[in-house]
């Protein structure tokens, strides 16, 4: 073992075939510095094949768009009782007498809660459709075996977790403007709204990555994820819905600390359990 001699030669078949002793990979060459390189290799590989095939992002974006449009068509989120109110009694009589408009615009608590729930339901179903793809793709294409053979489980998990977090953040950044456009939510506190939306997306990706690995090994890859995700992800949805509703109405109701702690907890548990799901 002569680590210093490892250069281009390592990859040449000639040296591999040479009868005399050949420098071999030193056993110590897989330190923690190499772990990050492995994680980043997995992440970049997934990103590259995603950009080339657009299998996950395209699907979930279409899914989210369809859901947003469908809800915009079918669920009344504007109008009397939701965005417009009749002036209160005394003011109403004055307005009638003076010939002024009797309606005024103001968000109601119901509308805040409704819009905020719509957002998270769309995000949940889009995420459950798209996030397992990183693992389902490997199993369906049959590439999982070679990945198992060559890559440490922890590097596979972390790389794919990063990829899913990035993918869900991209999705979030694409659907928030659409949401604002279609529903006119009249958010009072945008930083708080975006804070919940971004941290919530990260938390969903954190808990859903391991479940995606689990689902990819079952016979029901297509729809099991929506069912499995519900219980473990509901706390995120409830915290998110409450937080964004508060941000829309301008009330104080900051659930970011709760979201972050649940995110950290679920990601740690996922990371611990992952190799039991992944390794044959």
């Amino acid at each position: 073992m002569i680590p210093a001699k490892r250069g281009t030669e390592t990859f040449s078949l000639n040296s591999a075939l040479r009868p005399d002793g050949v420098p071999a990979a030193g056993p110590g060459s897989r330190g923690s510095d190499s772990w990050w390189a492995e994680v980043s290799a997995v992440f970049r590989k997934d990103l590259r094949s995603e950009l080339r095939t657009r299998s996950a992002v395209g699907t979930i974006l279409m899914f989210a768009l369809t859901a947003l449009v469908l809800i915009a068509f079918t669920v009344p989120t504007t109008g009397l009782g939701l965005t417009t109110k009749i002036l209160p009694d005394g003011a109403l009589q004055d307005a009638v007498r003076l010939g002024k408009p009797v309606l005024f615009t103001e968000n109601t608590e119901t509308r805040d809660a409704l819009l905020s729930s719509l957002y998270w339901v769309v995000l949940y179903f889009s995420a459950m459709t798209g996030l397992p793809r990183v693992f389902v793709k490997e199993e369906e294409m049959g590439t999982a075996a070679l990945l198992r053979l060559t890559t440490r489980p922890s590097a596979v998990f972390t790389g794919k977790l990063l990829f899913n977090v990035v993918m869900l953040l991209v999705l979030t950044l694409l659907i928030v403007p659409l949401f604002a456009l279609f529903y006119d939510p009249q958010v009072r506190d945008w930083p708080l709204f975006l804070g919940h939306v971004i941290v919530g997306a990260g938390a969903i990706a954190g808990a859903a990555t391991m479940l995606g690995a689990l689902v990819s090994r079952t016979n029901n890859r297509g729809y099991l994820m929506v069912v499995l995700g519900f219980g473990p992800l509901l706390p995120i949805l409830i915290l998110g819905i409450n937080g964004t509703a508060a941000a829309i109405s301008g009330d104080n109701g900051n659930n970011l600390a709760g979201l972050v702690s649940y995110w950290v907890m679920m990601t740690l548990v996922s990371g611990l359990l992952f190799d039991r799901v992944w390794v044959e």
């Binding site: 075939l17 050949v22 590439t143 053979l149 044959e280």
Partner: protein, 207 residues
């Protein structure tokens, strides 16, 4: 000095035993040939040996200079070529090589990768997506991936399946070269390949 010991290996799928009580010991320069009819468990035995599938009974021990290597290290020391291993079709040949080099913690340079492709007869095809490759070219690329870390333990399942005469000649070279580097396990029924064996193991219904 490299040693590979299969000790009382057994594997079943559900209630059906694929093989039981398999024993073998080989050291640097030796080749084990595993034969047996289709479905006798040759591929499964290789997967178990590579550490891809866990055994139900017994264990696989890989020793380098008398020291047993860890599962982590095994990923860097074991090369496996098998029909059911699949490379990423949406990546190019070079990108595949780069990915597997990086996840195994090996140093990577593009010229070295190109040289390796040259030697498995895929010179100039580095920038092409693997999805456009013929099945024989994919097998050649699998050899490149398996040989990348200069594996001390090389496992070949149906070594020349899908390959043309040029490809088969490369496999001959690889088999000969492995003698100096470590141990080799071949799963094959082809008499042109079984002749390389020092040890033989026939899987199948046991009398």
């Amino acid at each position: 000095m490299v040693e590979l010991h299969l000790e009382n290996l057994g594997k079943s799928f559900g209630k059906r035993a694929v093989f039981r009580g398999v024993w073998a010991s080989l050291r640097t320069g030796e080749t084990l040939v595993v034969t047996g009819h289709n479905g006798s468990g040759k591929s499964t035995l290789l997967s178990v040996t590579a550490g891809l599938v866990g055994a139900d009974t017994g264990r696989v021990r890989c020793l380098v200079d008398g020291r047993e290597i860890s599962a982590d290290e095994r990923r860097q020391r074991v090369g496996l070529v098998a029909p059911d291993l699949i490379l990423y079709p949406e990546l190019t040949a070079l990108e595949n090589l780069e990915f597997f080099a990086r996840v195994r913690g090996l140093p990577w340079t593009a010229p070295a990768g190109a040289a390796l492709l040259e030697q498995v007869g895929l010179g100039g095809r580095g920038p092409d997506q693997v999805g456009t490759f013929s099945s024989g070219m994919r097998v050649r690329l699998k050899y490149a991936v398996a040989l990348q870390p200069e594996p001390r333990f090389l496992l070949l399942d149906e070594p020349t399946a899908m390959l043309d005469t040029g490809g088969a000649a490369i496999v001959e070279q690889v088999i000969a070269g492995q003698r100096s580097r470590g141990v080799l396990v071949l799963a094959t029924n082809d008499p042109r390949e079984t002749r390389h064996g020092d040890l033989f193991l026939e899987l199948g219904p046991q009398a």
